[in-house]
């Protein structure tokens, strides 16, 4: 099971690479076309925006799993282990609530987005706005699993350290500026 999950995230990472590389190629290609050949592809402008939406919301789930979303840890860092665990429980409940509303909102709005197409490519906007299912649902699942482990006392010390903002990597710090 753990292996499957690990593989799943590797696939997501590969997807993130493809999305960012694709965006860069499309926008760069348009610059070259515009200044070199006085033309441009409208598809590129539109698709690069949608790639960006997918990149943002798929990456948000990966980042959540890695505790990379920035927070203000000064207060929780002052608590002892018990206080920190209580904060983790409350924090995960808040995240589940918000993500579930995000998921639900995507569902309610699906008919409205399905009845609208992208002006150039004709892509149904359900494909773009539907990414809320993935992000809302993904974060609910991750937070729920964490909550269950917290309540059954199976949380690891590493997770508590990550929650209190200890041992940040340089890359994680870079995300904060």
């Amino acid at each position: 099971m753990q292996k499957v999950i690990e593989l799943f995230y590797r696939v997501l990472e590969a997807l993130l690479i493809l999305l960012l590389a694709g965006m860069a190629l499309m926008v760069f290609g348009n610059v070259v076309l515009r200044y070199g050949f006085n033309s441009g592809l409208n598809v590129s402008e539109e698709m690069s925006r949608y790639f960006f939406v997918w990149l943002t919301f798929i990456g948000a789930v990966v980042a959540f799993r890695e505790h990379s979303h920035l927070g203000v840890e000064s207060l929780v860092a002052m608590f002892g282990r018990k206080g920190r665990v209580i904060c983790m429980v409350l924090s995960n409940i808040v995240i589940i609530l918000c993500s579930a509303i995000f998921f639900w909102g995507t569902w309610v709005q699906l008919p409205i987005n399905s009845s609208m197409v992208a002006p150039v490519t004709g892509l149904s906007m359900a494909w773009v706005y539907g990414v809320g299912f993935f992000t809302g649902g993904g974060c609910v699942l991750i937070a729920l699993e964490r909550l269950i482990r917290l309540l059954t006392g199976r949380v690891t010390e590493d997770e508590i350290a990550a929650f209190t903002g200890e041992n940040l990597t340089i890359e994680q710090m870079a995300e904060r500026t």
């Binding site: 860069a24 926008v27 760069f28 919301f57 920035l70 927070g71 924090s91 990414v131 809302g136």
Partner: protein, 425 residues
């Protein structure tokens, strides 16, 4: 009252460790519930629409350019160039740090990435030459925070989109104040190292200097491309960003040969992850911004500060103090995203130039990156330079003070921002 519901729910969630992005969503939910207009679609729609903006595409591309600049050896060449030019003068390595920080600021938009590159190379050298280590670390931290002020700048893009202000104009207006910040560091550094007994580097020969310049020339071409392209109106900030990334990749792979094709997936993935973290935050902030606007919270605040509306200088002074206080505890991007929708209507009402405000706001937020207790750039120096955080914090204060003085000079003399901006635009 709505204002207190907004602030209370946001701070409450952040205090118990909820990441800022989710805290912003949560305060949006609470506001909806309080205003009796709960609708899950407000969350879903504003979240996604936030990322569906072409202007914001500049963010991943500038992040990518910055990553490629570091992996491709461009940062190293720039620092070597600065050493060859000014390394031999008294207090030289400090001046090197400031010059290199200014050049790197005109290529990259991230304070932490620039600081990490500077600290990795310069702190060991400065230690060897006998400089006071915490003070050197403090200087590098203060130099690193110029990155968001001089274009390109992620901070200006986020502010420009949140406040609906021209990013090109913000970029042009940031150049001179950024240089002023650098100059204030030079002055402060020369004062604090006056009595230190340090070894100056041997003076490099004319020929050697020429060679270092030649090696760095490709890297030094990057600011010319970015700023020149935007200034001439030939490219938009988004296009300039993608050109910068392509250029950094070309120089790193073909000219310096430090970047291998096999490095690319790692570099791109890192840029993608950083992008998601920032963008998810931007999107969540747009949810709360929508509700702040719909609830007319800015009007409520305008009521409290009514007496200041006719006194723009005093109003700016008060706002700058407020931002400094918020910046002690909150990181750059969250501060911009939380405060912009609240402050912008007041700024407009008081008749303050939004570009001028934007520049001061971003300088102030950048200073927040080196104010304790939460100053992430201090953490970077501490981590990369292996100096305890407390010591870096002690070392940074003269420079922090100097940059704060610059900030308030700009409050008193707005022409210091407005005149050069007009001249550059």
């Amino acid at each position: 009252m709505t204002l207190f519901v907004f602030v209370g729910s946001l701070l409450g969630a952040m205090a118990i460790g909820v990441p800022v992005a989710f805290s912003l969503m949560f305060c949006g939910v609470v506001l909806m519930w309080y205003m009796d207009m709960f609708n899950s679609q407000i969350i879903a729609q504003n979240m996604i629409a936030g990322a569906d903006t072409f202007t914001l595409l500049a963010i991943p591309f500038f992040i990518l350019a910055g990553e490629l600049m570091n992996s491709g050896g461009l940062s190293k060449r720039i620092i070597e160039f600065a050493i060859a030019c000014v390394g031999h003068i008294r207090g030289g390595l400090g001046i090197v740090a400031i010059v290199a920080a200014l050049i790197m600021a005109s290529i990259s938009g991230s304070a932490a990435a620039d600081t990490a590159a500077l600290a990795a190379i310069l702190i060991p050298m400065m230690a060897k030459a006998g400089y006071n280590i915490p003070r050197s670390g403090g200087l590098i931290a203060a130099g690193g925070i110029i990155a968001p002020v001089i274009p390109p700048s992620m901070a200006f893009i986020v502010f420009g989109v949140a406040a609906n202000v021209s990013i090109t104009q913000l970029f042009m207006a940031g150049i001179f104040p950024g240089i002023l910040m650098g100059l204030s560091l030079v002055v402060t550094w020369l004062i604090v190292v006056r009595k230190d007994n340090v070894q100056a580097l041997p003076k490099t020969s004319y020929r050697e200097r020429l060679r270092a310049t030649g090696r760095a020339a490709w890297a030094l071409g990057m600011p010319v491309i970015i700023l020149g392209g935007i200034k001439a109106g030939v490219v938009t900030p988004t296009e300039a960003a993608v050109i910068a990334a392509a250029y950094a990749m070309f120089v790193g792979m073909v000219i310096y040969r430090e970047l291998k094709p096999s490095d690319l997936p790692r570099v791109i993935l890192q840029a993608a992850k950083t992008t998601s973290v920032i963008m998810f935050l931007v999107c969540a902030a747009l949810v709360s911004a929508w509700l702040i606007t719909a609830a007319n919270i800015p009007a409520e605040i305008a009521g409290y500060i009514e007496p200041l509306i006719d006194r723009p200088t005093l109003l700016m002074f008060v706002i700058m103090i407020l931002v400094l206080v918020v910046g002690t505890a909150l990181d750059l991007t969250p501060t911009i995203l939380i405060l912009t929708p609240v402050l912008m209507p007041i700024i407009k009402q008081a008749g303050i130039d939004p570009v001028y405000f934007g520049v001061l706001f971003i300088i102030n937020n950048s200073i927040g990156l080196i104010t304790p207790p939460v100053g992430v750039v201090l953490n970077v120096v501490s981590g990369v330079g292996r100096i305890p955080l407390g010591k870096v914090t002690a070392g940074v204060w003269p420079f922090l003070l100097a940059q704060t003085i610059v900030l308030f000079l700009l409050v008193l003399f707005p022409d210091l921002v407005i005149v050069p901006a007009r001249w550059l635009h």
